[in-house]
Structures are given as C-alpha cells and as structure tokens.
C-alpha cells in the first residue's frame, strides 16, 4: 500500500497538481508514525499501514494557508473531519488535493502490549495476522484482536470527500460493534453508578490537553482554558470538579461538530474513554433532531445551529427524568 501511495503522490507532484504531501512518517519501531509534510525528494520516509492512525485533517488548517497546494492523505474517517473544518471555514479547500487512502482499521499498540508483547523489534501485517518479532521471540496475533477501539465502530470505507481515491482491492473494513453500546450501558446505570464510572475515569486526567490539541473540532485560536482573561484559565485540575468540568465543557463545545473520529481517546496518555462523552451527545442529537453525522455532507445544516419548529423544548430534560 505504501508503494502504491508513493507512486501516486510522486505522479501528482511530478505533474504539479501539488507541491508537497501531508502524510505519515516512518518511526523508530514500526508503530510510532508521525504526521509530516514531505517534499518530492523526502518520500522515502512516507509510510502507510495500520499504524497510520493520526487524523491529518487538523494540520490542514495551518498547511492550507501556506502557498502552493498540498496533497492530503486522508483515511475514510479523516474525511469527515476535513469536511467539518471546511464547513467551519478553517481550511482553504483550494490549496488541498485530497487523496483518499483505503483503511483496514488502525492497530492499537497498547492492545498489543496488553497481550504481553514486549521488546518489539518489528511488526509485519500479513493478511489478517500480525507477525511481531520481539527480543523475547516471535509472536503472532490476529489483527482483529488489536484493532483500535474507534475502528470497531467504523463509519465505513467511503471517503466523504476526495479529489482522488486509491483503491486497495482488498475487502473493506467493516464495523464490528454498535457504537452506542457503551453509551446505552451508561444511560442505564443509576446516576450514582454513572458518577462513579466517570469519576474513576476522569480522576486519571493529568490535564495535558492532548485530547483538546489533537481534536479537529477544537480549532479555536485561543482556548478559553488558555486565556487569562477568561478567568477559567487553568493548567491543572485543582480538584474533582475541574477534572470533570474540563472534559464536559469540551464535549459541550464540540457537540454537533464532533465527527466521532476518536482521536481524543486514542491519544489520552491516561486511557480515559473520552469519546464516550461525545457519543452521548451524538446519540442525543440523533434522537432529538434526527440522525446526523457531522462532516458527512458539507451542505447539511448543523443540528444545533439550525432552528426548526419541531425541535425539542427545554422541558425534554424533565421528561427524561432530569432535575
């Protein structure tokens, strides 16, 4: 796949469709890829495989403001974020040439480690298996067992936007799980149980801002939590309340715009399932305003920015048992 992509982008650079490529750069250990902008002569380091997890859309905010045109390699789910950023006028579409790349679901290095695999020397994807060489011997794992959680609820193999799509010829990756399963489970808990669940998770937060900084929907020039004038600027969670509120406020802020790309949970160094907050909003939005997938259609009206007479009234809170 990497070779196919390199050939395609080399061709696009050669015919001056664009002058650089936004993609993933090879790491030290086969799994630690870094987003990077490549010039034609730097393509040797370009890689695309199961570990090309970072969603590159957000980088286009900055990259599309530069001179020239950039080729953006986007996985199907990344294209939702791209569209959403187009809708929010964050990306200059004219300066981006989107090359859709097929995705077989991203791999989760943490899940691989949880399988007891240590001292990794190389990882090879062979069909549905991963062959992992370690200093403690060779291990084989079914790919499906170490798929990133977000990919288990895949939104599909279609690119929502692309100037061109690279076909792999391999069968498309499909969702294995219902994405609202955990949200439903949380809804069915008593409020005390639910509070205990979230306290357990959010108490791990170290307020590193990785979730916010990686989030394509968090594109404010200055976040309210970084702005001294806001009076809520903070760098650490002084107490439980702040631990909770930072994430809840963030979830409110991206509600209706979150495409459920899952980057927040992927990057959290503390393993907090932050995407569940966003999914709760998505589920409620679907219920109250009709099914809506942010970033699927740039012509669509945002459920929370569009008013309809049959929108739910605030009384819905009470009707659903809220106080």
């Amino acid at each position: 796949m990497t070779e196919l992509i390199k050939a395609k982008v080399s061709e696009l650079l050669a015919n001056q469709t664009a002058d650089r490529v936004l993609g993933w750069k090879k790491g030290e250990f086969f799994y630690d890829e870094t987003p990077a902008v490549f010039q034609a002569e730097e393509l040797d380091d370009l890689v695309y495989d199961g570990f090309s997890a970072p969603n590159l859309s957000k980088y286009l905010i900055k990259e599309s403001k530069k001179e020239g045109k950039v080729i953006a390699l986007l996985k199907p789910c990344d294209t939702y974020s791209f569209n959403q950023l187009i809708m929010e006028h964050r990306i200059n579409r004219d300066n981006v040439y989107v090359v859709g790349v097929p995705c077989r679901g991203n791999l989760d290095i943490n899940k691989i480690r949880e399988k007891g695999i240590k001292g990794i020397q190389s990882i090879k994807e062979q069909g549905d298996e991963l062959i992992i060489e370690t200093i403690y011997g060779t291990k084989t794992l079914p790919r499906e067992e170490v798929i990133l959680d977000r990919c288990l609820c895949c939104k599909g193999s279609q690119h929502m936007v692309a100037d061109e799509v690279i076909e792999s010829g391999e069968p498309a990756w499909e969702a294995k799980a219902d994405r609202f399963e955990m949200v439903t489970k949380l809804e069915n808990m008593t409020s005390d149980e639910r509070f205990a669940f979230w306290r357990g998770e959010l108490s791990k937060c170290i307020r590193c801002n990785a979730c916010r900084n990686v989030c394509p929907a968090c594109s404010c020039l200055q976040c309210v939590f970084d702005d001294p004038a806001s009076k809520v600027q903070a760098k650490s969670n002084a107490d439980d309340f702040e631990e909770n509120m930072f994430h809840i406020i963030r979830a409110f802020h991206v509600a209706g715009r979150c495409t459920d790309c899952g980057e927040c949970s992927r990057v959290c160094p503390q393993g907090i399932p932050l995407h569940l907050l966003n999914r709760k909003f998505i589920k409620d939005i679907d219920t109250f305003y009709g099914e809506y997938q942010a970033g699927a259609d740039i012509e669509a009206k945002g459920p929370l920015t569009e008013f309809n007479k049959d929108d739910v009234e605030p009384s819905i809170v009470k009707e659903r048992g809220g106080k």
């Binding site: 870094t34 200093i135 307020r207 590193c208 393993g271």
Partner: protein
C-alpha cells in the same frame, strides 16, 4: 549491608507491616491504569508492570500543591502558610530510571535556595527500587549510565523465581528494614549468586534492546549554540500538538507555575506542573520570545540534553524511561531528537 529475602506469596504481609506505620505507595492498577497509589489490602499490586503511566515524581513534586493562603481585608493582607502536611511514606517498586530521576530533581529543588516543600517529601520518603524484568524496546536508560539490574534508592529489590530479594543501601533503608526484617530471612551466598545471575541475564537482554547504544555524542554545553541553531528543529517540531503529555508523564520535567485561586474566603496560592510546550509559558504583557511551536519544542529538548548537563556536571535531564515514546500523540520524542541531532548526525 545485609541482604534479605521473602517469598512472593508473603508480600502482602510485608506490605501490611510497612503500611502500619506509614503510607505505602506501590504500582497499583486502577481503572486499567497502573500508577503509584496508596496500598490497601484490596489493591491490585502490579510489581510486574515495567513502568507506571505517570512517573513517581508526584510523590515528591505533586501536580498541584498549596503554598500559602492570603486573607484580604480592605487594604490589608495577611499570609497564612498552609502547606499540605507531609507524613513519612514508603515508595515501593521504583525502577532504576525513576530512581535516577530523583537525583535530577534534587539538583533543581535542593540547590540553594532549597525548596522546602520538595525537601520535606524527600526526607520523609523511603525509596525501594526494583530491578527490571523484561525491559521494553522503548527503554534507553543505559544511554544515561543507569543499570536497570542494579537500581539505586534506599533499598534495592530483585524478583527472582518467586522470591523477592531486599537489600538496604542507606541508613534510611536500613531503619525501615529493621521494622520488617522479622518477616524476612537473611539471604546467603547462594541467594547472592541467584541475584547476580538474574542481573547477568537482564544485562544480556538489555544489550539486545534497539536503543541500548543510543549515542549522545554532541549533547553538551560545548555545542549549545550549534545544537540550538540546527535547521532540523523545524522538521522535528512540525507535527507537535503543543500538548503537555510528554512533560507530565516525564519523571524529570520540573517546570512549574504559581497561581492564585480566589475562593471567596481568601486567596489560595498554589503551584502546579507547567509545560514549556504550552503557549503561555513565557508569555509576557508585550509578547513571548518563543513565538511558534518550534521554539517551545526546542526548549524542552535543549533543556534536557544540553542546558541541564551544562549546568550539572554532564548529568542529563532524561533517564531513558521511555514514557514519552509511548505517550506522545504524534510519536515525536526525545529519541527521535537525539538520533536526528546527535551521534553520527552530530557534525
């Protein structure tokens, strides 16, 4: 000093005994995450876990701590010291890399003028280290002259074939040992040989690690400007998100902020971890000298690899624990920086 041993099955007894007189912190799994938490009988102790998610620095330099409180009345101010109380505690199961990180932190906080908040925690804490078992590809402590098989601390421990070997190294360690020695047996020459054998085995594994020979050539005060002015920072920092995950999981990052919180009854002044990766770190009323992420990113690595050793007889402010390698959202880390600017790439 004498070495002791205890069967792994009896460790809960050992924990209970130590916890009688003071708080005992161990790598404990909670919500799928292993961190140093206070032990209790129900705790899920994970001595097998190579590294906790966060480092052990919290115990000496907590993420937030109270400094003092102010009462404001009209034009008058009064100061009340309300530092969080520090009780004696034991920190058990610290890896060699994290133990070294305390030496790095000491250089900062115990240098004149002494930071008494940190100092009192250091004085009250007994550090029990644990030799590594099955190190990871992300480990590179050897590059900093740390021996994972022979960790420092007040007491060193080795886990060999279901037995924990325990060796006090300091007076503090000896004092603690005396309170629990009744639970343990004295180790003999055979035991000593077993420990040495396990050390040898670990050394053999370490040598196979991909970052074992990470080359730090060129990272010193003599090459300060050369490293600073390298053109490679632009590419290295290109994808940096400006989050603080590397900083906050790092055992040696010690930058802090001092902030005030007005709770209506008074003003609490506290300090909290800060990150040079953050946009406001050097922000002043008229702007910041580190305008883009390049400058912020460069500062973090220059500080660890050049400025700190230049000020501290060559001691790097990195211990090779590998946490930033596994936690960075975009997998940019100190090893990639070292490889790009040092070793064979050092001009």
């Amino acid at each position: 000093m004498m070495m002791y041993k205890i069967n792994v099955d009896r460790l809960p007894e050992l924990y209970a005994k130590m916890a009688e007189s003071r708080a005992l912190y161990l790598p404990i799994e909670k919500n799928d995450q292993v961190e140093f938490h206070p032990w209790n009988a129900d705790a899920c102790v994970r001595l097998d876990k190579l590294n906790t998610a966060k480092s052990a620095k919290d115990l000496f330099f907590p993420q937030t701590e109270n400094l003092m409180k102010f009462k404001m009345q009209g034009k008058n101010i009064s100061i009340e010291e309300n530092r969080d109380p520090v009780e004696p505690f034991v920190l058990f199961g610290v890896r060699a890399c994290d133990v070294r990180s305390f030496d790095v932190l000491d250089k900062v906080f115990l240098a004149d003028p002494v930071d008494t908040f940190y100092q009192s925690r250091r004085e009250n804490g007994v550090v029990i280290s644990m030799a590594c078992h099955e190190p990871e590809e992300t480990c590179f402590c050897h590059a900093f002259g740390i021996d994972a098989a022979d960790p420092a601390g007040d007491i060193s421990c080795w886990m060999v074939e279901g037995t924990l070997y325990w060796k006090p190294l300091t007076e503090k360690g000896q004092a603690l040992t005396e309170t629990v020695s009744a639970l343990m047996e004295q180790a003999g020459d055979q035991d000593q040989a077993k420990v040495e054998e396990s050390q040898k085995a670990l050394h053999a594994v370490m040598e196979k690690l991909p970052l074992y020979d990470l080359d730090l050539t060129g990272f010193d005060g003599d090459h300060l400007l050369e490293k600073f002015n390298s053109e490679k920072w632009a590419k290295l920092s290109e994808a940096c998100l400006g989050c603080g995950s590397c900083t906050f999981v790092c055992p040696t990052c010690q930058c802090y902020d001092i902030r005030d919180y007005d709770n209506g009854h008074g003003v609490q002044r506290y300090r909290c971890w800060d990150s040079c990766m953050y946009s406001d770190f050097t922000m002043m009323a008229h702007g910041t000298p580190r305008k883009t992420q390049l400058e912020k990113f460069r500062q973090r690595f220059m500080h660890k690899l050049v400025y700190f050793p230049s000020n501290n007889d060559g001691m790097y402010s990195c211990v090779g624990c590998g946490r930033c390698l596994t936690k960075c959202p975009i997998s940019m880390n100190i090893v990639k920086v070292i490889k790009a600017l040092g070793g064979e790439n050092h001009a």
